[in-house]
Amino acid sequence: MTEATRATPIDQQSLAELIPPRILPRVLGRWDLIVIYVSIIFGSYASGQMANAGWQAIGIWILAYLLFLLPAGLCSLEMGNLFPDEGGVYVWASKTMGKLAGFFGGWLSWLPVFGAVVTWTAIITSYLTTATGWELELWQQVSLQVLIVWVSVGIALFSLRTAQNMVNKLFYPFIFFAALTFFAGLFHALTQGSATPLPNSFSELLPNLSENGAVFALAVLLLLGVETPFNMGVEIRSVRRSAPWMVFGGSLMLGVLYLLTTTGIMMATPAGEADPYAALAKVYGDAGFPWLVPTVGMIYVLTNLGQIVLYQYAYARLLFVSGIERHFPKVFTYLDPRTRTPVAAILLQGAVMTLIVLVMYSNSNLTNATQVMLAALTVVWCLSNYFFIFPVVIARRKYAHLYADSDHVTWKIPGGSFGVWLTVIAATIGNTVAIYYCFMAPWVADMAVSAWAPQVGTVVAVGIILGLAIYLMNLKNSQSIDVEDELAQYAVLETDKSEAT
């Protein structure tokens, strides 16, 4: 019996719990998970944007880390331990809050991939121009972003193991140069003094949310994605053994990397002057090593590409699982029999991302359109977090019998009910404050809140209504599933588990 199928008696299991363990091989180990966790969350643009807020960024990082990343990480870890299934948040919310909540948990968690990847493609072009000195024209910018989408789709179509190997290889130079940022900044500080004057007192590091609410929302955005690795639940060799390493080790690595890079940038580049997207490469120029900028720029082009590939295959699993349960058309359950990759789901993501790039550049006010879309998708992503934060409280009651089995639940939030409530309340506060500031602190400086908030709200509402429409359209299909018939259809794809594991 696999980890996943232990959770519930077979007759109570949904197709999302029954089918993936039979047809997907377990290929991800502990190190893979740490790489996935850090790569999904770490944004190479993050430190530059945070550094522009000055030394207060350090306090804001720590606040967002304590108020969001750690509690959200603990919630996802407990849920992943309880239900180590494919589809992560989709299954967790389904099991605890019902099918509708499960669908919306998955849907809201899936939607942001489009904003994330489209932004990431623009960031890659930013690093590319930094490295090469090219100035892209409109048509080059558009076609390059589309090309990056399809290169990432192409790599994501390989088997999970092959694609993950590539991502792992790119992780090492990424970690090395990210950490080196701090030493570049330190060199600048020692030889020429800190570009951003060092804080005179501890109070300068303390966050002031009334002034920097938008920066806090940004910090939360830059820490989103803790639940994503669990989308590939049954492809992990042992969720229960590896996930704690991923959440604790990965979070520690993230915290250290963000603090090192932000501090390094501030010491080499005056606050407010850091490039918001390619600062991690440009910082070497500011620190006195301009000859390093092209090389580091190109390395970040590749590492960012690796991160996009990761997004492609990690999020396609949500669509795949929703397809198995017929909340989406069955075509998205197409699995390549050789690579075991959800081909149709990945291709659909690529097609929609391409359309988003084309539509984005079809808007005369490019900046506003892009930023409204990104802010709305951040809100949507934050909303999806509630679908793995609240379920922890519900699961403790609803599945008390599973918690009583120490073989089944090997890790849970310590401190009993108090620990659970503290964690859930902290994560809820962090998440809610971030949503609030996404609406109330425009990301575009020349837009007033009165114009910004309704636009962001409209995009969020469209996302929710679209999800509801898809759910209702497929409701009949999802309720009329013949489990035996479905299992028979997938029998041809069943893996030899002894070999796969």
């Binding site: 197409y334 808007n363 005369s364």
Partner: protein
């Protein structure tokens, strides 16, 4: 396996040869229309981009700030040059920025604009006391290479060498005084472009002192009066004060997290979309949609006729590979139609608008048209595949036999 599927896909397309040909031609015509409109839009965008780059390179080298009146900048379609609409920069402000800004290295000087009598824009530069006009203006003013006044000042575009599309033939430079005399232009400063070694300092000090709105968004314009559109990035201009004196566009800087792309890409997007948002542009988009629907209906029709084949494939357990078959068929059809469409589009351009026939712009348009290809191929194969999956193998075989 890919080869096997490729052969199968070709065989299937050939089996319904007439339908395949008609679908391809329909789709090709749609693609031709899109290419045609894209070339027109890109010509517009290219013109703007060229002039913008010219301004940057000739006037300011690597200018990073462009200070304009509160009405912002516009591309004048009759001359192909940027203008300021309905206003000039206050002379005192221009003077202050050019001469006394802390940390600002002045590179650019005056820029006379369109005259009311002649639709010609002229860009002047103070360091050489010369001005530039484009070829269209040259023809309008009946200036030619034999003109004595022009011959007195040889064309000197030392900074435009890297811009072959502008080149010495594209613009003419002549002494400022001569130009003003010929064109009867008033010596008014419409805007200034400059290089500030410290953009942040410019943003935080000069802009606030002079009450200038600082932005990286070329669409921002400030209406004077109580109702303001452009809100502040500098604290000073937050209320959109009526006495706001100008807008400073940061050309080489990005503000906060709002700027994914550079200023000139945003600028180009404005002019590209102005052209593609016209009735012609919408017709092209609708035509492309119709082409896609045509292709999709042909695929679904063929699906009905091939039930038996698909029934056998799914019955023997290779249904997972049927998607690849659809993908390949769709890909082959779209590639063929795209190539044909590009050919037809080029032919249409040459016949209908020979003045816009420019291989460089056509190449750019072709690349943009190809960007539409992957989503159409994917949707064009996923939809028939979904239709197929709704039936069980038995159902497929039974209905096919019936």
């Amino acid at each position: 396996l890919i080869y096997k599927f490729f052969k199968m896909a070709i065989a299937n397309l050939l089996r319904y040869g007439t339908r395949t040909a008609l679908t391809s031609v329909g789709l090709a015509l749609a693609i031709a229309v899109v290419l045609f409109v894209n070339v027109i839009s890109l010509s517009f965008e290219s013109g703007a981009a060229q002039v913008y780059r010219y301004l940057q390179m000739v006037q300011a080298g690597v200018a990073n700030v462009w200070v304009t009146p509160t009405t912002g900048i516009n591309l004048d379609s009759s001359t192909g040059f940027f203008t300021t609409e309905g206003g000039t920069l206050p002379e005192s402000l221009a003077d202050q920025i050019l001469k006394s800004g802390p940390g600002i290295k002045v590179v650019v000087a005056a820029l006379p604009g369109i005259t009311t009598t002649r639709p010609v824009t002229l860009y002047g530069r103070s360091d050489r006391q010369t001005a530039a006009i484009n070829q269209a203006a040259k023809h309008q003013l009946n200036l030619n290479g034999n003109d004595t006044q022009l011959n007195q000042v040889p064309v000197q575009f030392d900074l435009t060498e890297s811009l072959p599309e502008i080149g010495a033939g594209g613009l003419i430079e002549l002494p400022l005084a001569t130009a003003q005399k010929i064109l009867d232009l008033p010596a008014v400063v419409h805007w200034v472009m400059l290089k500030s070694p410290n953009v942040v300092e410019f943003r935080d000090t000069i802009a606030q002192q002079q009450n200038i709105l600082v932005t990286t968004d070329p669409t921002v314009k400030v209406q004077t009066g109580p109702a303001q559109t452009g809100q502040a990035q500098t604290g000073q201009a937050q209320a959109g004060l009526p006495d706001q004196r100008g807008i400073a566009y940061l050309l080489r800087d990005r503000l906060g997290r709002g700027d994914l792309v550079t200023f000139d890409v945003k600028l180009a997007a404005i002019y590209f979309n102005q052209a593609s948002s016209t009735l012609l542009g919408w017709l092209a988009k609708i035509t492309l949609g119709l082409g896609f629907v045509l292709m999709l209906s042909a695929a679904l029709l063929s699906l009905e006729e091939r039930r038996h084949e698909f029934g056998i494939l799914t019955a023997v357990g290779v249904s997972s590979d049927v998607l690849y078959l659809f993908l390949l068929e769709s890909l082959i059809l779209f590639i063929g139609a795209t190539l044909l469409g590009i050919g037809i589009g080029i032919l249409l351009l040459q016949i209908l608008v020979p003045t816009l026939f420019n291989w460089s712009i056509i190449l750019k348009s072709v690349v943009l048209v190809i960007c539409y290809l992957p989503p159409m191929v994917i949707f064009g194969s996923l939809i028939p595949a979904q239709q197929l999956l709704r039936k069980s193998p038995l159902e497929l075989l039974r209905t096919a036999t019936a």
